[in-house]
Structures are given as structure tokens and as C-alpha cells.
Symmetry: D3
Subunit: 225 residues, 6 copies
């Protein structure tokens, strides 16, 4: 069984968001022999609110991924800052963005996904991401909370998230993706409340990373031929 490490990169500077992500991954850690580590970006912005925030942290993400010896790296911000660059620079490396992974996981879980987004600016980025991925015909839309990444770490936001989820279901979503890495703590409750599958993007990305690390490990162990 693969040892090694999966590195989760939170590109914002919020220690609270990093802690929420880290704690939310505790149960997953118990299922694998790989180490799952979370790092933050102390010199980054407190959250990825605007496109300029996403752009500003892309070099940090690429450097962190490039210098790491982890088996797999996961970008723990729904905007996937630096994803394409990090992948291009490290061919053969497992690099996952939680936005992309969460959306692909949603596509295996229902016919149309909707996204709970932090803000109108996030919604715009999500629309662009969905088109860039080429999956717009599976996308019901995004509903915004008018909140920050730190805000959603608080249980007080649950009702707002449930309201946004209900609205997405009304708009035709039958699977809901949480559009921020800091919402993980309320996935289970939200799923029970909405009655449709709820995807935590970091969960999905780490699960895929575990699987892909096994796949990569299998190729090192030897060819099947």
C-alpha cells in the first residue's frame, strides 16, 4: 500500500479556513495509509473573493506544487488558481483542483449540478470554469451567499446555504456542489436537508487523489503485461 503524501494547498491566508479544511479531512485520513497534509498561504489574501485574488495566488500554488515531493497535490480553492499551469509544468505529477474534481464527481452523481457560491464574483468565475471544462449542458447554475470564505466556516451560515441549495434544486439541479473549500463541515447536514447528493469539492479531490495515487503506485510496482 502506498505510503507517501497528499498535499492540500489552501491558497488563502485564513488560518481558520485552513483549519476547517484540515479537520474536515480527519475521517478520510483514517481510510488510507497515505499522509494528508494541509498548508495555507500566509502571504496570500484572506480569501479568493475576486478574480484578481485567484490570479495573485497562482504563482504560489505553482511554486508549492513544483517544490513538493508529495505524490499528489490538491488545490483547495474552488477557483482552482494555478491548476493548468501547475499541471503543465509537472507532467506526470498528480495535480487536482477541487473545483474541477468536485464538478466531475457531481457529473457521476446526478444529471445536473448546481453550485453554492460565495459571491456574485465567484458565480462569474464558476460560469467561466464550467464553460472552460466544456460541461455547460450539465450545469443548472450557481446561487450566491454574499459571504466570504471565513464566513462559511461558521455554523451560522447553514440556513443560508440550505436556502441556496433549495433554490438550485428548484432550478433543476439534482446534485449540489459546495463552491468553497471552507464549507465541508456542513456537507452531511446539508445533504440530509436538501434530499439530493451534496458534494464537498475538497473531499472529492482528495478521494480522487487517493485513487490516482494507488493507480500511479501500481505502475511503479510493475507492468500488468
Amino acid at each position: 500500500m502506498p505510503g507517501g503524501r497528499i498535499l492540500i494547498v489552501n491558497p488563502n491566508s485564513s488560518a481558520r479556513v485552513t483549519a476547517v479544511i484540515d479537520r474536515a479531512l480527519e475521517p478520510l485520513r483514517r481510510t488510507t495509509s497515505m499522509r494528508i497534509e494541509v498548508v495555507g498561504n500566509p502571504s496570500g489574501p484572506p480569501g479568493i473573493a475576486l478574480q484578481a485574488d485567484a490570479d495573485s495566488v497562482a504563482p504560489f500554488v505553482q511554486d508549492t506544487v513544483g517544490q513538493s515531493d508529495a505524490l499528489a497535490c490538491v488545490i483547495a480553492c474552488f477557483s482552482d488558481p494555478g491548476l493548468h499551469g501547475a499541471r503543465e509544468a509537472s507532467a506526470g505529477r498528480i495535480v487536482l483542483g477541487c473545483g474541477e474534481s468536485g464538478i466531475l464527481h457531481a457529473m457521476m452523481s446526478g444529471d445536473r449540478f448546481g453550485i453554492i457560491s460565495l459571491s456574485e464574483s465567484s458565480t462569474q468565475r464558476q460560469r467561466r470554469m464550467v464553460r472552460t471544462m466544456g460541461v455547460a449542458s450539465r450545469y443548472a447554475g450557481s446561487v450566491s451567499l454574499s459571504a466570504t470564505a471565513e464566513d462559511v466556516t461558521s455554523p451560522a451560515m447553514f440556513e443560508a446555504m440550505a436556502g441556496a441549495g433549495d433554490e438550485l434544486v428548484r432550478q433543476g439541479a439534482n446534485v449540489v456542489v459546495m463552491g468553497c473549500a471552507g464549507m465541508a463541515h456542513c456537507r452531511d447536514a446539508l445533504e440530509r436537508r436538501l434530499g439530493v447528493i451534496v458534494i464537498d469539492p475538497v473531499d472529492s479531490a482528495v478521494a480522487m487523489a487517493i485513487g490516482l495515487c494507488c493507480l500511479k503506485g501500481s505502475r511503479v510496482h510493475g507492468d500488468a503485461a
Copy 2:
């Protein structure tokens, strides 16, 4: 770490195809504590050549998935016969089709995927599958080998597969998906030859199944909140 079982269902009756799939999964078995078992369909057709073949095995797939107590089931036929029905009938169950999984994995590995298909009829099904998934803007096309599922288990087919792969790259693919569960044994050689990532769909589906079993296991172990 999850024990449990991942059940791989080859819906055709070819013992040779079942054996090739089984042997190809040997290295992946060494990376996980889960058991990976492969079953065939002795009463099915020798291969899924036509749409009618795919249709004829869908009930078998759904019954096998429905009666299994495996943590996850993988349909090991690129046409994913019975996938949507099996998923619908067993909400909460992990059911993966190797066609869908291979294509989603390809979308994380390159910008445009091409598919090596067995026959012109397979190509038609792949076109419909790609549109059903809503990912046609990422699809470069399929190139057919005019072969059966049994044929491709033979090393003699390697040159034909490499030729099809080269043609896909000429048509703009920068990742190539092997469009049959029985081609796994030559993935590594094909990747070296073509110079682009080559996806074995069963590999991809089993890797995702491992990851999703960990994710599911984590939810049984306890809530992160």
C-alpha cells in the same frame, strides 16, 4: 482502512477478456486493502459489438450490482451497459462505468481526448455517450480497429492500436482513451509509443472506486463536524 470489496463486472462471456481484465488489475491490488474481484457473464454475448449486445446485458449488470454486497461496482465494458439504471436503482451505492470514468479521467489529463474503438458500431455508441455526458467539446473523435474484444487481448493488435492512436493525435487529441476493457495490457507500451497520456478505462474506474470507497468509509467512521 476500508476492507470490503470492489466488484468488476465484465458483461460479456469471453473468459479470455475476463482474464485479461483480472490480470491487468494485479498491480492495483497491491496498492489497496480492498479486494478487487472480477466476474464475467457466461450467458452473455462474446463481446459487446453492437448496441443490441449492450442492451441485452444491461439487465444482467443491474441484477449483479443489485445483488452484490460489494462497496463499489465497476462496469468493465466501455459502453457502460446498465450504468444509469444500476445507479438509479441503488442510490448511495458506488457504481462506476469504465467508459464514463475513463472519459472523466481523460478530461483531467489533457484538453482533448480521442478514443481507440473496436469497430464502427462502437464509434457510434461512443459519439452518443460523449454527447449524453455533455462533453463533446472536449472530444477529438474515435478511430476504429475493426476488431473484437477478444482480438484486442492479443499482442498482435499493438501496431493497429498504435496506428489508431497516432491518427487521434493527428486529429487533435492530446490524451488517448482505450475504448475497450480488454486493451489494458498494452497501455504502458502505447503511452511510450504515442508520447501522450493513455487512459485504460478499467484502471481509471477502479482507481476512482478506491478513492470513493475511502470517501464513503470516512462518512461511516464519523462526521467531521
Copy 3:
């Protein structure tokens, strides 16, 4: 004028649905010299509620079409079970699915079509069908009745159908397709009520079958050259 026969295949076991389809075709029979026959599937499920139901009847549809000497065969279930397989197996044979035909007819009748569906599961199949056909940009959506195929043969469902139709018009449909073979009896009343064209899918498929039988007949009679 072509004699011959058009065979309408209702893949479910409901004698009531078969009878409603048969009676609804009475007026069309008076317009053609071809015989229009309707057969049911006594050993099938009572309705095509789930994807597994559709999958389970595909082999019956393909056998019935394959063994018939009718000039044209029409699958009288909106999910078109077995359509692609039946077509592939009988090149040159006229095989129509009422789902496909109804949607193509709608595309000649208005800019955006909406579908009245039986259930949420039907809606999911319709979304997949619309994408498979490649016509999603013409699709306003489906609104479900939470009913069975037998239910909709009753006049008591009219108000529910009208309500679903109104909702589709609000969502931008300017032509409404009835998403079940058993709704034909209320097409006229629904059209008057909604104020937009209403398509009965079996009607559309049989009309196209009549036309295509004439076309095929013309080719037997002799070449135009």
C-alpha cells in the same frame, strides 16, 4: 398506394395503455391505406418508470422489430427503448422512436420545446435523450407529473397536465411535447388550453412513418432518373 403495415410497439404490459394508444390512432387510420397495428408486451413491466424498465424491454423491442414484416415499426414509449439497437440491426428498415420523432416534430413546430414528463426519473432520461440527440439548445426543460403511464390515461390527469404545460411555457417553451405514449387522448384539449402547439409523440412518429413508407414505396416502384 402502399398497402403494408405499420407496427406500433408498446413495450409495457398495460393493456389500458395499449388500448389508449390504439384508440388514439383511429383517426390517423382513416387517412391512409396502410394498416396500423398496436401490440403490447404482456411480459414487460406495467410502465417504463425507471431506466431499468427501459433497459429491460429493449431486447423485446429489438426482437419484435426484427421478426416483424411490417414496413415500418414505431416504438411507442417516450424513452425509445431499443431504438438504436433495432435500427442498427435492421439497416434499411424504417424504425422510429416516438421520443425522437416527437422531439424532431417539435423542432419544426416551434423554437423551444418543453416536455411533460411522468416522473423525475423520466425527466432525467429525457435530459439524457435530448443531449444524445444533440438538440439541448432547443430544449426548455421537462416538468414532471409524478404519475405512472396508466395514471395519465385517465381524464382526471388533465388539470395536472395543463399545469405542467403552463409551467413549461413560463420557462420559455413555445411548443409542448407530451412525454408519454399514453397521453394522446388529451392532446387537442391541451393545445386549446395552453395556446401553443402540443405534440403527441406517437402521432408524430406514425405520421412520419406514413411519409417514410411512401418514400420507401416510391423507391421500389422505380428510380426517378
Copy 4:
């Protein structure tokens, strides 16, 4: 059985094209009790070569359709000049364009259609038509003959048409649509030569018109309820 009339409108002034269309419909006439009449447009251009030609005949088409008492009208020019306007002005009237009908018929006959076009300008119009119809994901492309509508009435063009058809098959078409109303005379030979279904658009439109006239006639005869 419906008596009545189907009016075929050739919007160009070429008596030769009108005669070719008329003669090509002879076999279809023997299959129906409806009269099938073809009219030309003596004051129109000799062919619909440019978009301006199409635009210039739209009012003629709309007037001819509007003043006719035929049960159905078919626009016998692949660019469908005046189609949307004629339909809008005569709600409830059966108005078919041979471009649209030929393409929809092709979508029931194969997965990807290609079009043999007269000229580069026709190809541009076909691309726009395919996008307007919302069916671009089913379109393999157009290959141009650099010919006029009169040219293609000559048997001498057969080799050029077969060459264009071969090229379309190479580009992934598995059904070929003849992109001009004057090509009908060589449909059968072309189909034998290419080995895929070949669609004559006027044939398809008249066949659909026959079917839709039966459907309309059935509604006059009485309600099925």
C-alpha cells in the same frame, strides 16, 4: 384518405431545375392520393447562389405559401428561404423547408451527417443553418462542388458528387445529405456508390409533408377522445 394538394415551391427561375424536381417526385406521386405540384419562380434568380439570392426570393416564397390553398407547402431550395417567415405568418399551416427536413431526416438515419454543397457560399449558409437549428454536434461538415443548381441537374456531375460524398465519409459522416434540390436524380446511384444512406432533401420534405397531411387530416376527421 386525404385528397388535397402539396405545393412544392422552387424559388429559382431555372425551368430545368423545376423540371428535375418535378420528374424526381414522380415515384412518390404513385404512393399517395394527394396531388404533388411543383412551381418555379420565373422572376427569381437562376439559382440561389449567394445569401442575397436567398434573401431576394423570401418574399416570393411567403406570398406563394400565403396565397396557396394547398394542404402543405415545401420550399424546394436547401437554403430554406422564407421558411421562418412563412411559418410565422400562417400558424397551423404545414410549411416545410427541404434543408431543415433533410437534416432532421438525416438525424434519424445516422449519427453524423455531411452535406454536399454547391459552393463555398452555400457551405457558409449551411453552417449558419445547422447552428440556427441547434444541431451542430451532429454535423460533420459540408464539401463544395463549385457548381450551380443547373450544373448539378447534369449526369456529368456524378463523379464530382461521389468525390464530395467520399470526402464527407472520411470526415466522419455516416449519412450524406444532398445540399441542393436539383440533385435528386442521382440519389440512388450515389447511395450505392458511397455505401451510406444518402438523403435527397426534397424527397424527405415531401415524405414528411405526406405524413403531416395525414396527421392534420386525422384531426379534421374527429378527436380521438
Copy 5:
């Protein structure tokens, strides 16, 4: 600096609409050394209400463009009647349609545009135009005023336009395009009211025409090489 002339062609016969367009361009005139002239079509319909109206004026537009010696011509009707034909007939000439220009400008101004349309018939034409342009994934929809081109020249329509704009924003538009050449006079007030960018299509087309005249002028002045 280029002298020359930009010719704005209002294809309808309403002197009031022509005057509103002309007056609305006054401020733009002060920004350029080019003359901006507006002509109407006294023998046209009072407004382009139906598709047949659009078709009927296409030849006038093409003749007017073809005979003009203006540097650039702008079609001042949102349906862009005659645009493709005029462009094809005068390669190298700058010919802009205000519908196309307004939509392209909107695509630089926001992620999803909505259109305030005159009538349900206009909405249908706009849907077709958006698909023809291939930009449907950026289109939130159209909301109709049930008004004529003359109606919207009146300040009394402002509330109805604001209501339509609000509805478009609710439907996900973050930029609103006024779908008629006669609405220019209330663009500023509408933008203040809606809180999103509002595009007047004639404004956009004339602005692009000014820019493209400069570009063309630069090529006459001499090559940069």
C-alpha cells in the same frame, strides 16, 4: 484622421424611429471627424415586427449598402436584415449589424447577456440569431415588451423596459442589451436603474464602425512593415 462617412440604415419606414436614432447619435458625432448619417426606408414596413418584415427589407438593405460610398454601413435594426448578404456581396467593405455588434459588445461587458425584445416574434428571431452566432451559452434569454418599434420611442415605455430588465437580471443576465434600434434614448436611465451595464445596439455598432474605419484608414495610409 479619417473623414468619410458612416451610413446608418434604418430599414423601416417610421420617420420617428429614424429621428430617434439620429438624435441619439448626436453625442457620438462630437467624438469623431467622420460624418454619421442616418437614412430610413420610406417604402418599408413601419417596423420589423415579424420575420417576414425582416425578410422583406433585406434587399433594400443590400442595395443601399451596395450603392453607398460610405466607409462603413450599419444596419440599425436588431434583426440585422440583409447582414450576411450585404457582407458577402461587398468583401472588404465594413458592414455591421446592430444586433450582432450589440451582442459582441455585451460579451466584452459581462458574462451573460439578456435582451429586452419588442415582441414574442422578436424573441424567436433573437434566439435564432444567438444560435446562428454560436454564442448561446452566454445568453440568459429575452423578455418581451409586447410593443412596436414606434412605441419604444416614447418615454412612457420606460417602466416596462425597466421591468423587463429586472426580469433578465433575475434570470442571470449581468449585462442587458436593448433589442431595438429605437430604445437608445433611455439607455442611461435604464443603466442607472438596473445597476448593470446596458447596451444600446446602434451605439455599439457605430462605435465599432468608428474603430474599424480607423483600422481600415491605417491600412490605406501605409503598411507597418
Copy 6:
């Protein structure tokens, strides 16, 4: 007539590329009273070869745009680094990316555009950009030169560019976009050679900027109402 300034931002550090852009704009300068200034990015990479290069210069672009008092800013790199962020941060400011502008201009100039790209990595970015813009159905593809931004400033590259253009025309493009800001010097010769319109993206963006500055100026001068 507007005075003011249009600022062209070359985000790479190549003085040669900056000089080529500057010189290529000389003829456009003679057509407007606005000043057109070009700045480079001395601390940037020598060219935007990889996605990581594009990401690394986005903050520079956003800072430069944000601190400038120019009426309009144009990003003179086909990857449009920083475009969405710069626009979002400066609502009401005219910010154009030459990639986006060149593509929109191409959409007014032909039905399908192809792009001459520097490298395979550029091609990937162009595919993503085209999907992000939502205009993939108008895109024929990209053909790469395997060159750097500096390379293409040399006349020696002309034959390679012409070859790439010919290949794009063969693939169905009827307008060709030069996919790098440093290719402007050979636009005229390339257009003569290929026989289709050739778009220089910086030219297009500056022309649009001139037009939009006039439009903005007109709103300052006073309301048309």
C-alpha cells in the same frame, strides 16, 4: 474629439516584441487624436510560453491597468493574462484583451476562425479561451509554429506562418487570427497570400478601443435624451 490615451500593455519583457507592437501601431496613430502608448514588462518572462507565464504576469497587468489614467487599456498578449481580474477591479473602465478582441473581430469577418499559435502550449490555452468565451462552434482550430514570441518578430518566420494559415484554411477556417501580439508586421502579406481575411489581434483591440473611447466620450459630453 477625445484626447486622452490608450495604453497597450505588453506583459512580457522582450523589448523587441514591445518595439514590433509599437511600430505596427504607427499607421493607426495617424487615424486618431488619441495617444496610443505601448509599455512592456521588464521584470516579466521573455514571452508568454506556458500557462505559468500567463499566470505570473496577471498581477502586473492588473496593477498597470489599475494605476493608469488612460481612457482604455489593451492587453497585448493573445492569452489575455489578467483580463477578467482587471475588468472586474475597474468597473466602467475600458479594458480589452487582444485575444478576446481578435476573436470577436474574426466572428464579424467570417464564419469560422482558425488561430496561428506559437506552440502546443499556446494551442491548449487557445482552446480553453475559446470555450471560456463560449464560441467553440465558430472555431476551426489552432496550428502551432513551435516558435517563441521573439521568433515571430522575424521576417524569416513568414513561410511557416503561411503554411500554418494554409493548413487552417484546409481545416475549414475562412478567417485567420494571428495568435501572438508580435506577428503584426506580416498581416498584410499573409492576407494576400492566404486569400482570406487575416486578423492581427492588437490591431483589432486598438480599433475597438478607439471606438469605445468615442462611445465613452459621447456619454461624458451629454445624454442624447
